[in-house]
């Protein structure tokens, strides 16, 4: 026989007058291979029709369902209840604006981040529809893809100590985005532009190096390597700016 799960879920509807944050407890019979997408959908269908949460792809690809599950920010869709104890505590991701219950507004934050780091290829080259594409080494293409795999779930920001006290910090997601364009030869941003973006408290200086981001990232992005690369690049730029050494 399956277990009875004891789901303690954070509830708060900011649009409702006099509503106060509280915990509701729901009991649910565990079925084989039950994940939190199915579990929460069931609770909504059967017990709490007004329960707010976000799922889209329910396959660990779209990044919608980040939440704090028994103290750890991660994707709910691919969390199996069989990996959790009888009591499951669910909280919305901290840091982001709360829309209600387990739903937070990650979209606005990530759009703002994209604008701040100018998350696009900076190039003067015009697209020529009849020309052959610019060539790229496949190893480099794979390296870019490695950083590009970020799904903007927000778990790294929710787990980041700096971000909690200094909301302007770009966080692992923002730094990783910078790292992605930094290695892309199609992006023609010069050293000064990169330097301005990276060498601030919002950028790499904001990072205390506790690396909770690396610990919680559901896509296992190589954040340590990305940060190291950014620091290295910055040091190189600093030396060049000082003019004393060749990097």
């Amino acid at each position: 026989m399956g277990r009875t799960l004891n789901c303690k879920i954070f509830r708060y509807n900011p649009t409702k007058e006099n509503d106060k944050p509280h915990i509701d407890t729901f009991y649910l019979e565990e079925t084989p291979r039950l994940n939190l997408f199915t579990a929460l959908s069931k609770i909504r269908e059967e017990q709490a029709p007004d329960l707010m949460f976000d799922f889209v792809c329910r396959a660990g690809i779209c990044g919608s369902c980040g939440m704090v599950i028994n103290g750890r920010p991660t994707l709910a869709c691919r969390t199996l209840t069989s990996d959790l104890p009888d009591t499951i505590e669910l909280f919305p991701l901290p840091f982001f604006k709360l829309l209600g219950d387990l739903s937070v507004d990650t979209g606005i934050w990530f759009r703002d981040m994209a604008e701040r780091v100018e998350s696009w290829i900076h190039t003067e080259t015009k697209f020529d529809p009849i020309a052959e594409e610019e060539r790229m080494n496949n190893t480099l293409a794979n390296e870019i893809y490695e950083s590009e795999r970020c799904i903007e779930c927000g778990c790294c920001i929710a787990g980041c100590a700096t971000a909690q006290v200094f909301p302007e910090f770009l966080g692992a997601a923002g730094l990783n985005r910078i790292g992605r364009f930094l290695i892309d030869p199609r992006d023609q941003r010069g050293n000064e532009e990169w330097f301005e973006l990276i060498s601030t408290d919002e950028g790499i200086f904001g990072c205390f190096g506790m690396m909770a981001c690396d610990d919680v990232c559901p896509k296992d992005l190589p954040l340590l390597e990305v940060f190291a690369h950014i620091r290295q690049k910055m040091t190189g730029m600093t030396l060049k700016t000082l003019g004393g050494f060749k990097s």
């Binding site: 792809c57 396959a59 660990g60 690809i61 199996l80 829309l99 979209g107 696009w120 590009e148 795999r149």
Partner: protein
């Protein structure tokens, strides 16, 4: 009533919608995109395998060209597609891939020299051309003569969507996310905007626009068991149907993908088989070569799905608590391949079903995956019967897919159609003035407000989730991979009842804010009505074509059914109305697909007579005049050279 005016209103911010947004914003038009979710969470992001374009850079794609791609596409469609639209698509696909490279997509590239790959499950050494080193490479997919599917590992939709959205951010295009369109505002055959509801706080907002573009994706979620994201509920096609004027086309053409994993129904890409994965039965026997000696696991999706079900019906499935399934064997591809080129697949198997594909077999079965049907548009993407309304991507029936689309052709369609239709939208919008009829907007808004009041305070007793399950059940059991008159009759009867019952839905909580139950309740009428159209369309069509397979009519009937289903739901009517139009100008005469077997009943009239009727017939059925005349983009008999 909050009113926002714009030049172009785009509903849906996946790849197709964003590409149209970029095309129109670059023409200095004001553009607003509405989306149920932040754009990067759109279902485009979940596409894994790749995009077809005949770049021909890999040695396995050598000699490829748009004509060969076109032949594969027309045959794949089982001659149900519009051959001119398919041609426009194949001609522009290579440009679109290169443009996406320019936007920043890290396409996998050709590596010169010897490479070990799997061809028909045999390890084979190929020599990639050093001269092509660094150009965009491709992998094999089903139903194709060449390796033509461009990819970034198995995260192609993700990287292309991120590159596209980066461009949208760069251009400063406004996105209003967590907004749901409820109704189109239209007058005298012209679309004037939409009534929308915020999923943040329930606020009603009216958008008035010169042109409105629907890019909301498919209706796969109606089936309940589907590889689709939970937001693919046919919301855009419902907006069109609700007008009573714009027809939905070929709604019965529903694709089942051979490899949804069991349980959870998450997709693992066709790239698994393209890269050499095989299908095994309960005895771990590779059965596909017995059914399809030529294409084997890489026949078109409709054929592979049917062969799998046929094999299961012979008792060769693997029993499980979730029903019978078959196995996908990836073990021979090796750890490195699975952890790089098929990394998402590896993660999905590990996280969701605890199967390690490096060492273990993956349980799979055919699962609802794609909607070939959708809002009928002309080749400019302009909706039938409604000026200023456009549709693009999966929500549209542009019609390059006919009754079966090839893997890798829909992700490519989003960016190619977005580019083509985007140009037409820009042109139309520049020559149109904004019509701000606030009184009319209020009338349409009031209808939605009344509906909300009825759902919250009415005397109904139906539970919306119960009805959703009944719709899914009827489609799944009565309108699945194998169809027959008896089961379809039963399905139609069930769904007619459900349509009636949607009038008595009662929402249990009147909470403010996003109120998820109210949101579901507002969608249920559209879901029920579209489900009924799928079932009735399938019952009416007494032939087998592509994904639509009738056990009682197994032949493809080109004498009577070489046509496209059009369905409308006139305002106030109890039932939908069906009509049929010619599929378009035929250049490749109907013939055998080269896989799948089956009999074909030949056309009664000759090609020329058929083609002469097309323009007149489609005009009568509501098609707006396209910018260019019919058939002009279809070079006559170009295929003869490729054969």
């Amino acid at each position: 009533m909050k009113v926002i005016a714009t030049d172009v209103l785009i509903i849906g911010a996946g790849l197709a919608g964003e590409r149209v947004a970029i095309a129109t914003a670059k023409e200095d038009l004001d553009v607003i995109m509405l989306s149920l979710v932040p754009p990067r969470r759109s279902h485009s992001a979940a596409a894994q395998g790749g995009m077809q374009a005949s770049l021909g850079n890999s040695i396995m794609g050598k000699g490829d060209n748009p004509t060969i791609h076109w032949l594969d596409t027309v045959r794949g469609s089982d001659w149900g597609c519009d051959q001119e639209v398919a041609r426009i698509f194949v001609d522009n696909a290579p440009i679109a891939m290169r443009e996406m490279a320019h936007y920043g997509v890290p396409w996998n590239r050709v590596v010169g020299g010897p490479q070990d790959v799997f061809i028909k499950s045999k390890k084979t050494r190929i020599e990639e051309d050093y001269e092509k080193e660094g150009l965009i490479t491709a992998r094999a997919f089903g139903g194709t003569a060449k390796w033509r599917t461009c990819y970034t590992a198995d995260g192609t939709g993700h990287t292309v969507l991120y590159a596209m959205d980066n461009m949208a951010v760069q251009l400063g295009i406004d996105v209003h996310d967590r907004m749901e369109a409820m109704r189109l505002i239209h007058d005298n055959g012209r679309c004037l905007g939409a009534v929308t509801r915020s999923l943040r706080d329930g606020e009603i907002v009216v958008y008035l626009s010169k042109s409105t573009v629907l890019a909301t994706g498919g209706y796969g979620r109606l089936y309940g068991i589907s590889t689709n994201a939970v937001i693919n509920e046919g919301t855009g096609s419902w907006l069109a149907l609700q007008t009573g004027i714009v027809p939905l086309a070929n709604m019965e053409a529903v694709q089942f993908h051979p490899t949804g994993i069991v349980p959870t129904d998450i997709l693992v890409t066709e790239g698994c088989r393209g890269d050499g994965g095989t299908l095994l039965d309960v005895d771990e026997y590779r059965f596909m070569p017995d059914y399809e000696p030529e294409k084997q696991e890489l026949a078109s999706r409709d054929v592979v799905s049917r062969r799998m079900m046929e094999h299961i019906k012979k008792g060769k499935g693997v029993k499980s608590p979730y029903g019978d399934h078959l196995w996908l064997d990836l073990r021979h591809l090796g750890e490195e391949h699975l952890k790089t080129k098929l990394r998402e697949v590896y993660d999905i198997c590990m996280y969701f079903i605890g199967v390690n594909p490096i060492k273990e077999l993956v349980p799979v079965r055919p699962t609802q995956h794609y909607s070939m049907g959708g809002i009928r548009v002309n080749k400019d993407g302009h909706a039938y019967g409604m000026k200023g309304l456009f549709a693009v991507g999966e929500v549209a029936n542009w019609d390059m897919h006919g009754f079966n689309r090839l893997g890798g052709n829909s992700l490519a369609e989003t960016v190619v159609a977005g580019m083509i239709v985007g140009k037409c939208v820009a042109e139309y919008t520049k020559n149109t003035s904004l019509k701000t009829d606030v009184a009319l907007a209020e009338t349409f808004t009031q209808k939605e407000l009344d509906k909300i009041t009825q759902l919250l305070n009415g005397s109904g007793n139906e539970n919306v989730y119960q009805l959703e399950n009944e719709i899914a059940d009827a489609l799944h059991h009565n309108v699945g991979i194998f169809r027959n008159g008896g089961e379809l009759d039963e399905g139609v009867a069930k769904l007619k009842e459900v349509v009636k019952r949607t009038k008595n839905v009662k929402v249990r909580t009147s909470s403010s804010g996003m109120n998820p139950e109210l949101s579901s309740a507002l969608r249920i009428e559209g879901k029920a009505k579209q489900a009924l159209i799928i079932a009735m369309g399938a019952l009416n069509r007494t032939e087998s074509r592509g994904a639509h397979y009738r056990e009682d009519y197994p032949a493809r009937d080109d004498a009577n059914w070489l046509n496209r289903t059009l369905s409308r739901w006139p305002e106030g009517a109890e039932e939908p109305v069906f009509d049929y139009e010619l599929v378009g100008v035929l250049d490749l005469p109907p013939g055998d697909r080269g896989y799948g077997g089956g009999e074909q009943i030949p056309m009664k009239i000759d090609l020329e007579e058929y083609n002469n009727r097309v323009d007149q017939d489609q005009t009568v059925k509501g098609r707006l005049k396209p910018v260019e005349s019919t058939g002009i983009r279809l070079p006559k008999e170009a295929w003869k050279e490729a054969e």
